[in-house]
Symmetry: C2
Subunit: 135 residues, 2 copies
DNA sequence: ATCTAATTTTGTAATCGTTACAATTTTATA
DNA sequence: TATAAAATTGTAACGATTACAAAATTAGAT
């Protein structure tokens, strides 16, 4: 995966910080928070500032290569956008998994009243790993 | 609508504050924030504290008669739970509308890997009112 | 009714995630 | 190499939420 050209083709100058942050998002699909991203990169980039992580993620979002996952009230997670998908959070282990959902199949009554530009689907429950551990 | 008995039957003692807060949620379907609820009730209950609004909503959620709507990163909204439904937020006027969606029709590949207990569907875009105004 | 204990409400202070902002550093251009 | 523009950084400020202890209210027993 060529992150430099992905950034350039989305009008983002590929600074070291931006490359590393996007690389982290792309490689680590656990939908990390700002703190997680910062903690895992500050070893690589000792001067890294948390403000830079915030700024960079905002830039990614504005340019359409990242989205937020707000499956939980008290935490904002980030996701490198690939194909459209939903999210499942296990309320036992806290992990957030990607879920392949055919969003175009969603039918609803008020469909003529709104022009829908974005769809987020959030599922919660227990993942199989936890179900097996608990029982 | 008999809010007193609704609270009692959900193991919640019907204090004035609790009745008024649930009544507000039930009657005002714009999915208000804590601030909105507080501002609209403090006239009725002059001693009302914002902490009470937080405490009460948490109690409602724990007892299953309220849920949160986190369609936006930076605001938590509240919803008196009725039948299962999705939400649409117009990014022009900011209003959040209820949307009737048949959630049971959602099919996804990983369905066997998770025990889904709750589903949230968030749509964003433009409502017809705003579309007509803009054009 | 009255006393006592339990519950609920309240206000203040603390916490934590996020943003504002100005200074510094880095990059691009002439 | 000099200058301007852009990106990064650290600190301070902000705002939503929570912790906590005091005050007020309610419920139960006598």
């Amino acid at each position: 995966m060529d992150f430099v050209h992905l950034l350039i083709s989305n009008n983002i100058k590929p600074s070291l910080q931006r490359i590393k942050i996007f690389e982290y998002l792309y490689d680590n699909r656990e939908h990390p928070t700002v703190d997680t991203i910062y903690s895992n990169l500050v070893g690589d980039i000792p001067t890294l500032s948390k403000t830079t992580v915030y700024n960079t993620l905002k830039l990614f979002i504005d340019n359409g290569i990242t989205s937020t996952v707000t499956i939980e009230d008290n935490e904002v997670r980030y996701d490198a956008i690939m194909e459209e998908h939903g999210h499942f959070k296990c309320d036992n282990c806290g992990n957030v998994y990607d879920v392949e959902i055919d969003i175009s199949a969603l039918k609803f009554k008020e469909i003529k009243s709104f022009k829908v530009e974005k769809t987020n689907i959030y599922l919660k429950g227990k993942c199989n790993k936890c179900l097996n551990k608990i029982n």
